[in-house]
Structures are given as structure tokens and as C-alpha cells.
Amino acid sequence: MNLTLRIWRQSGPDSAGRMTEYDVRDISPEMSFLEMLDTLNEELILRGEEPVAFDHDCREGICGACGMVINGEAHGPERTTTCQLHMRHFDDGDTIDIEPWRASAFPVVKDLVVDRTAFDRIIGSGGYITAPTGSAPEAHATPVPKPAADTAFEHAECIGCGACVAACPNGSAMLFTSAKVVHLNSLPQGAPERESRVLDMVGQMDDEGFGGCTNTGECATACPKGIPLFSITKMNREFVRAARKA
């Protein structure tokens, strides 16, 4: 099929960007969205133009590197990562708008690449269990009830792609932060740092310039890993509990 792409081009963090139109021809419906962009980039290189920069790595939907706003939706029309979106979801003759994640806490680096290091700092502020190597007790010393283990797993699935922030009208990172808080606070191993974890991570999240949460739920709709919206409710409960104790 033949498509018209309108892609956000921005040469650097401080330059102005704009939508630029490209035509791509003979796109196979079997291609992934990123392979379609690869095709465009191969042509651009041969024409002596700079290819479109975008983050990607595993192309299996698990590393969380890729992500772009496609026709106004984070990761596009399917509930998956951009790398797992295939061209069969588009029609011949379509015009597709492709933009980077839009959020003030994710400044654009170049074209479709944004800076998501704020996420790393949120994790560094408390998204861990302090367990220096070698200090661990025998794994079966503390049984974890299966429901708690399942809740922890469900929230641990977050891949840190940032779609939740991009989809949120406020650019909030509540779903990302709550996923880690709920993962670790659900486990007995996470209990000793339960209060400091939620207070510090929420504090860091605010410091990074993410917006507030107004319960619109776009985050959970865009999340390719299905982190549930009630994750935020649970974090709020943890936060109130910790704040009261403090």
C-alpha cells in the first residue's frame, strides 16, 4: 500500500520542530510500523537526507524503548507497543501523523526521540527494596501468599515506555509511579520501606515536573501492558497512610 506520513522533525532539543510530509510506497501489510519507518529511512539516506530518529531496541514489546504518538494515540490504534503494531491496521492511501511523546517532563531530543530519564530518577528515589548482594535470607524463609505475588507481578509488568504520560492530558506519571509502588508494597519483602518508598517516589515525581492526576484514565487505556487504573487508587491509599504515619 501507499501512504502519506506527516512526521514531527526537530533537529535538536533547542530547535523548533515541524510536521514534514513524506510518501512511502509499496508498504506490505505484514510490516511492523517500525519496519515501515525503516523503509522510509533507507530512502532518505540514499537521497542524502537525515533519516527520522526514533528510539527502538528489542522490537518485541518488552524493552520499552519505542513509543510515538500515532494519529493522536500513544503507540497508535492497537493496545500494544509501537514495535508490535503492524501495517495491516492501516489502509492504502491513509495519511498517518507521527509525533513524539508530548509531555513537558519528556523534552524532545531529536525528531521522535524524547528524554525519559525522569523515570529513572523516580525509581532511584525509592523504587527498590534495599537488599545488598549477599544479605538475602533463604528464598523460602518468607512465603508470599499467591494473591499478593500475583498483584505484585501484575504491576511489575510496566516497561517504562512512557505511554501513560504521553496519553495523559496533564502529562502525569501517576500510573508509572503507582505500578512500582504497588509492586513492591504488595510484597512482605517491601514492607520495611513501605512508607518512605511512596512518599519519596511521589515527591520525586512532582519534582520532575509531571502533571497532577485528574482521574481521566487515559493512561491505563494507552498502557501496552495493561497496568490497571486502580493501581493509582492503591498508591493514593499508600500515600495517605504513609503521610498520616509521618
Partner: protein, 648 residues
């Protein structure tokens, strides 16, 4: 005609660090004999760690916890994205929680045998010992392993092993283990003990007075070339499967760090030992950019077949039962669809080569769940494999519940890597290699669920114990910025980047990478022959010359330039590919993942030749396109006696 293949055999190389004595006491003895660094002095030592996967992430966090100053690098935007994250199946550990006869010795035995007797016994035994501690460590970090209703950890049997020793977190074990290591690392980054450089790629190793003292790295956002100095350098940069272009590796996984180290004196061992995974989704066309693996647990219930007739293009449902060839069940009646990875892969290639392959280009075989659904019911199949079926459906738009899956083998893991001794130190003093970047533990074939085990073993437990000895014995002065070795390393990096940028040819980096990958897959893939390898050895230097003549890299070196990154990595693949082919040519036996058609039994199985090849081949670099020098490390088997594998 290239003279590259006229290699010379030099002095043998030997591991001098493993203590002798009973194998189960060696690790304790080594830890006791290794010198320690006084805790108060540790912060004065800087250690560079390149890579943040299971091995690198675990090592960086642990070294920082011990008090060292760690400077760490990854090319990704975050240390959480290293490709360990994509591992699905699980992690082995000799916990014997099932009381099913498992033990450290059995895991050791299985790994040596699975590696087809091409790994060092001391290392493998240590791996099996340490495996037990890994699970404890990960549970303490909050890794959400699968659990039973009683709250204890669940395990499963994996890859044809007869005990249930594989711990898992649904199909995302790698992700959960990596996030555990990443979180531990993040704690140290926040504490200021790890200086983390994301989006920064190591482009050369700095060797001063024979010791590894730092690296040259490029900031991928600004293009800035910087030097970083340390008392020791640890490479945890992963394997080199991407040399084949199409593999299950992440798109940007690359061999540059280990190859640059090899060029600076680190021997490269067993480069031809590559692993091919039988259950990947076949390519859908020439646009294919990477391959996706599906857990081989699918083979527990799926039946593999192709049409009996060549060129049969009927849809699978229209091919009657008696016109199907369930070839694995036919050839290997005892193991059937559960034969080891290499055997399943080669059999698939053989039937496709006969013209009986299915799907686009005839490069696929069916993996059929119709019988499993009839036997267990659709619901049970859904519970067991639902996420894999969904992934398959998303990629191919076919419903595996109603039409058989199509699968084909793909490059998945590389057992070869930098040669290291028992301390995981390379032949360059002060340079260590851990995880998939080294060659140490898997011999000629890696068992399922053992990659995660080795990465974490090296990172959490082995390297942090052994590197002390090196740091304690070698107090270092500062390296001056204008040391000739530093200037030479920086100049060679900048010259090469300039050459790539200014060449302005007419071919893209990817076009070269694809061509090299196809050549390697054809001649140095699942089955190798002397003729084919010689052909590849003639062709690779021609391609390399063409690369440097015709490569086109747009843009500048002063900002994010992904084409430049690619081209620079591909340049190294051309050299590595040549060494892989030479290694495969010189090893005229078959073993593990290395199958030489000239060396097979009457039944078509891999035939090892222990009298000639019971050694690890460690290659010394002598110059681009120049014949390397072979150093053999003799492998002796005191505890596990070599036997020929048989699955008939």
C-alpha cells in the same frame, strides 16, 4: 585469495586462577586466597562497567554496595532496557525444592554435558553452586516469581531436563530479573556511588603499560568523544548474535565493545559457537528487521510437521493426516518434538532445503496444537500458552488455535566471547568480561534457562569476589590525558567516525549488514562445510572493502546520528564475521551448536572428535584481514566423562 585462513598456532593458554583439589571446594578456596581491598580504600578505586544487563547491572550495583566507585555505561536511554529484558523462559537453580533428585552436582553435570564437553569444569561447577544464592537474592529484591498457593516458589522443567529446577515469572522472567538488578543499580546511582552514563557507547579500550585503564566513549546525543579512566574495566556488553543481521537480539545489541577489546589484545574464544533457537516466528518478507522468539515450552504440546510432498501449497487444514510428515517424531521416536534445540533446528532446515517448507519463501514448518486442543481442551491450552498465542497472532494475524503456527530457527545466543580465566579476567590484565560477553560456561551449547543464571552469577557473586584480588594487587597511578596510548585510542576512534561520515558513497549501513548476515547465515549458520566457509572467507574481505568504499552515512557526528552508530558497529561485524568463519573452518568436528556436515554419525548426528578438539580456541588479533594466532586451552574432564549425545 586471502591469506587470513593461514593462521598460526601459538603458545597454549591456560587458566591459572582456579585452585585444584576437589571441585566443590575450589570456589571457596579461590575466595579465601584472593586478596581483599580494605573497605576504607575501596572508594579510591574506580571500576568501569560497560553494559547494564543482568551481568552488568548486577555487577555495578554490587561493586558500588561494596564501596567501589563505579562508572557505568549503556547505549540505551535507560539502564532498564538492556536486552536481558527479553528473556522469557526462566532461570535455573539447584534448589531441589521439588525433592526430585536435583543437586548442585546434577546441574553441573547437565551443563557440562549440554555444552557438549567444551566448557571448563571449574567454572561450570561454580555456576551451579552460585545458582542457589541467586534465587535468594532476587526474592529479597522483590522479583515476583511464580508461586504456589502455599506461598512458596513454583518451578518447572525446561528444555528437556528431567528435574524441575527452573524458576520463572510468567513469560517475562528476564524482564523481572533485570528490573531487580536495575532497581538495585538505581539505588546506587541515587546514592552517588554509581556514575551512570546512558546513551553513551564504548568505542575503544585504553590499554596503558599492558593494563586496561579506561575506555573511549561517545555521547550518542552530542557526539562528544570522551575518555574515562579506571583501575579496572568490566565488559558486560552481551553477545554478538546481531552479526547475522536477523536474530532475536535487540536491534542495537552489538559487538563493538568486545571486538575493540579483542583488537587491543583480549583473546576471543570459540566465536563459531552460536546457538540457534528452533521456535521463532518466520520472516514475512525482505523488510524483516528482526526475529521474534517464542518460548520453546511450546514444543511440550505442539507437534511439528511439514507436507510429505515438495511444493505442497495447500492450506494446512486441507492436507490430510497421511500426507503430513511429523518428521521429528519419525526420526527421533524416543524424544520426538522435544529433541534439543540444535537437532530440532537442523531438522527444520533439512526439510525446508528439500522444498517442503511452508509459508512465504518456504522457510517455515508447522507447529500444530490441534491434538493438544483435542486432548486438553482449548481452555487448558489457553491457560498454558495464552500469552504466546496472542503474541503470535499479533505478529502474523493468524489464529494459532485454528491454524497451525509457522516456526523457523533463528540465531538466539552466542556461547563464544572474550576468553576469561576463572576470575573472569581476559588476557588483558585489568579487563574483565561477564555474562554473554565472555565464553566461559556454556561450552558449545547453552541449556535453556541458563543464560539468566550465568549473567546474574557473574554479576552478583563471581566478579565482585574476584576483582578484589586484581585491585588489591595492582595499585594504580593516574593516567595522564596526554599519554600516547590515550591519544592513539582517541584518534583511532575519531578517524574512523570521520571516515564513515565523509565517505558519501551510495549504499546504506543496513544494506551491508543484511548482505553480511545472509552470507553468514548461509555458510556459518545451522550447518557448515569447508567449501561454504572458504567461500565466506573469500567473500567477507571483498564486502568489507566495498563497505569502506561505498558506505553512505548522512548527518554529522555532532548530534544524535543513528546511521553513524549502525555503520560503526557494522564495520566491526565484518572483522568478527571473518574470525567466526575461520574458527568454524578450523574446528572440523561437530559439537553442540557447531555442526560440520563432514563430521556426523551415520544417523546424521553431530560427531565430536575429542582427541583433536577437546580445547577452547582462543584467537589473538594481529591486524584487520591478517591471519590471527590460535591459542588452545586444553579442557580436561575429571568429573563428567565425555559421551556422545544420542537422541535417537
Amino acid at each position: 585469495m586471502s591469506t587470513y585462513s593461514e593462521y598460526r598456532t601459538g603458545e597454549p593458554v591456560a587458566d591459572t586462577k582456579a585452585p585444584d583439589g576437589p571441585i566443590n571446594e575450589r570456589w571457596d578456596r579461590r575466595r579465601f586466597e584472593a586478596k581483599l581491598v580494605n573497605p576504607a580504600n575501596r572508594r579510591k578505586h574506580t571500576v568501569i562497567v560497560v553494559g547494564t544487563g543482568l551481568a552488568g547491572g548486577a555487577a555495578g550495583a554490587t561493586l558500588a554496595e561494596q564501596g567501589y566507585h563505579v562508572v557505568q555505561f549503556c547505549y540505551q536511554d535507560s539502564p532498564r532496557r538492556a536486552h536481558s529484558i527479553a528473556a522469557q523462559g526462566g532461570i535455573n537453580a539447584a534448589k531441589n525444592y521439588r525433592n526430585d533428585g536435583d543437586s548442585v552436582h546434577r546441574l553441573f553435570y547437565d551443563t557440562v554435558k549440554g555444552g557438549d564437553f567444551r566448557a571448563r569444569e571449574s567454572n561450570v561447577h561454580r555456576l551451579a553452586q552460585v545458582s542457589v544464592e541467586i534465587i535468594d537474592q532476587c526474592v529479597a529484591q522483590g522479583v515476583p516469581f511464580a508461586r504456589e498457593y502455599g506461598g512458596l516458589l513454583d518451578t518447572r522443567s525446561f528444555g528437556g531436563v528431567q528435574v524441575s529446577r527452573t524458576f520463572y515469572a510468567r513469560g517475562q522472567t528476564g524482564q523481572q530479573l533485570l528490573l531487580g538488578a536495575y532497581q538495585a543499580l538505581s539505588r546506587q546511582i541515587a546514592a552517588g556511588t554509581v556514575e551512570m552514563h546512558p546513551r553513551t557507547e564504548m568505542l575503544d579500550l585504553i590499554v596503558v603499560d599492558g593494563r586496561a585503564r579506561g575506555i573511549v566513549a561517545r555521547d550518542l546525543l552530542t557526539g562528544r568523544i570522551d575518555t574515562y579512566f579506571a583501575d579496572a574495566v568490566v565488559l558486560a556488553s552481551g553477545g554478538y548474535g546481531n552479526v547475522f543481521y536477523l536474530s532475536t537480539n535487540a536491534k542495537n545489541s552489538n559487538a563493538t565493545a568486545i571486538w575493540r577489546a579483542h583488537r587491543r589484545g583480549a583473546y576471543f574464544a570459540n566465536p563459531c559457537f552460536t546457538q540457534i533457537h528452533p521456535t521463532c516466528i518466520p520472516r514475512s518478507g525482505d523488510h524483516q528487521s528482526k526475529l521474534t522468539l517464542m518460548s520453546e515450552s511450546l514444543r511440550n504440546d505442539g507437534r511439528i510437521w511439514v507436507p510429505k510432498a515438495k511444493g505442497d501449497t495447500r492450506p494446512p487444514a486441507e492436507i490430510p493426516e497421511d500426507e503430513r510428515d511429523y518428521y521429528l517424531e519419525r526420526i527421533y521416536p524416543a524424544f520426538g518434538n522435544l529433541v534439543p534445540r540444535d537437532i530440532a533446528s537442523r531438522a527444520a532446515k533439512n526439510v525446508c532445503d528439500e522444498g517442503r517448507g511452508v509459508g512465504p519463501g518456504g522457510q517455515g514448518v508447522y507447529l500444530d496444537f490441534a491434538d493438544a486442543i483435542a486432548r486438553m481442551g482449548r481452555k487448558a491450552v489457553e491457560e498454558k500458552y495464552g500469552n504466546l498465542f496472542d503474541m503470535y497472532a499479533r505478529i502474523t494475524a493468524e489464529d494459532p488455535y485454528t491454524t497451525p503456527m509457522r516456526i523457523y530457527p533463528a540465531i538466539h545466543y552466542t556461547m563464544g566471547g572474550l576468553w576469561v580465566d576463572y576470575d573472569l579476567q581476559t588476557t588483558v590484565p585489568g579487563l574483565f568480561a561477564i555474562g554473554e560477553a565472555n565464553f566461559s560456561d556454556h561450552g558449545a551449547n547453552r541449556l535453556g534457562a541458563s543464560a539468566l543464571m550465568q549473567g546474574l552469577s557473574d554479576g552478583y557473586f563471581v566478579l565482585p569476589a574476584t576483582i578484589n584480588d586484581y585491585l588489591a594487587r595492582h595499585p594504580h597511578d593516574e593516567v595522564p590525558d596526554d599519554h600516547p596510548a590515550v591519544i592513539e585510542a582517541v584518534t583511532s576512534v575519531t578517524d574512523r567516525l570521520y571516515r564513515l561520515l565523509s565517505n558519501n558513497g551510495d549504499r546504506t549501513p543496513d544494506s551491508f549488514h543484511r548482505e553480511l548476515g545472509e552470507l553468514l547465515w548461509e555458510e556459518c549458520g545451522m550447518a557448515r562445510t569447508e567449501t561454504g566457509l572458504r567461500k565466506a572467507l573469500d567473500r567477507i574481505p571483498e564486502l568489507r572493502e566495498e563497505f569502506w568504499r561505498r558506505i553512505k552515512v548522512p548527518g554529522s557526528g555532532q548530534d544524535l546520528n543513528q546511521s553513524l552508530e549502525k555503520a560503526n558497529r557494522i564495520a566491526d561485524y565484518f572483522e568478527l564475521a571473518e574470525l567466526m568463519c575461520l574458527d568454524a573452518l578450523h574446528r572440523s568436528e561437530s559439537c553442540g551448536g557447531h555442526f560440520r556436515e563432514e563430521s556426523q554419525t551415520e544417523g546424521g548426528e553431530a560427531e565430536r572428535r575429542d582427541e583433536e578438539f577437546s580445547y577452547a580456541a582462543a584467537w589473538e588479533f594481529t591486524g584487520t584481514g591478517e591471519a590471527p594466532v590460535l591459542h588452545k586451552e586444553q579442557l580436561d574432564f575429571e568429573y563428567v566423562h565425555p559421551t556422545q549425545r544420542s537422541y535417537a
